[in-house]
């Protein structure tokens, strides 16, 4: 069975500094991987997805993630944090043609 581990429950960065949210996965086959963002009192939004094409995936709002099979990682990065990035981020791996296995989430805090 597939699983996903988000290594930090909270990450705090200053505005304008880089963001790194870490995700490791376990899969018995080549999975598809996603990052979703959940802003307070708003629905989940797909940030980006990896589906076995390019290993460096660009998403919305300047975020990107790199699929590293050797490290079983799919870390999310952004060069410069903005106050509006404050939210909870979820790393997700596919288990079947529709089942998604979710990490526990990382809360990103942006300090002014």
């Amino acid at each position: 069975a597939q699983s996903v581990t988000q290594l930090d429950s909270h990450v705090s960065v200053s505005e304008g500094t880089p963001v790194l949210l870490r995700c490791n996965y376990s899969s018995s086959y080549s999975p598809s991987l996603f990052w979703y963002v959940q802003h307070p009192n708003k629905g989940l939004q797909l940030l980006l997805k990896y589906t076995s094409a390019a290993t460096l995936v660009k998403g919305i709002n300047g975020f990107e993630a790199e699929f590293k099979k050797s490290e079983t990682s799919f870390h999310l990065t952004k060069p410069s944090a903005h106050m509006s990035d404050a939210a909870e981020y979820f790393c997700v791996v596919t288990q079947s043609n529709y089942q998604l296995i979710w990490g526990a989430g990382t809360k990103l805090i942006i300090k002014p």
Binding site: V4, S9, S32, F34, N41, K42, G43, L44, Q45, L46, K49, F90, V92, T94, N97, Y98, Q99, L100, W102, G103, A104, G105
Partner: protein, 113 residues
Amino acid sequence: GAGVSQSPSNKVTEKGKDVELRCDPISGHTALYWYRQSLGQGLEFLIYFQGNSAPDKSGLPSDRFSAERTGGSVSTLTIQRTQQEDSAVYLCASSLGTSWEQYFGPGTRLTVT
């Protein structure tokens, strides 16, 4: 266009009562999914509909939980004899066909007192 909508947005109920949660998917989306998000956790899959049938109910935690979908559109998740451990945010998503690319509603926050 309109996204996935859910109602109510918040529900407080007493232990032992039944509750119904509603999901209106995006028009034309044939697949619909229910998830539960407990505090500090990721989403937990409950049930999946393709049209009006539910080929996968494997995530329903007990027989107190049931769901139906009518007209290939609106879905209702019913929890009977609610327990305190049922307190969570219940999320609905829909997709165009069976797909990982799912669009989520804002959720219903259920509190069982």
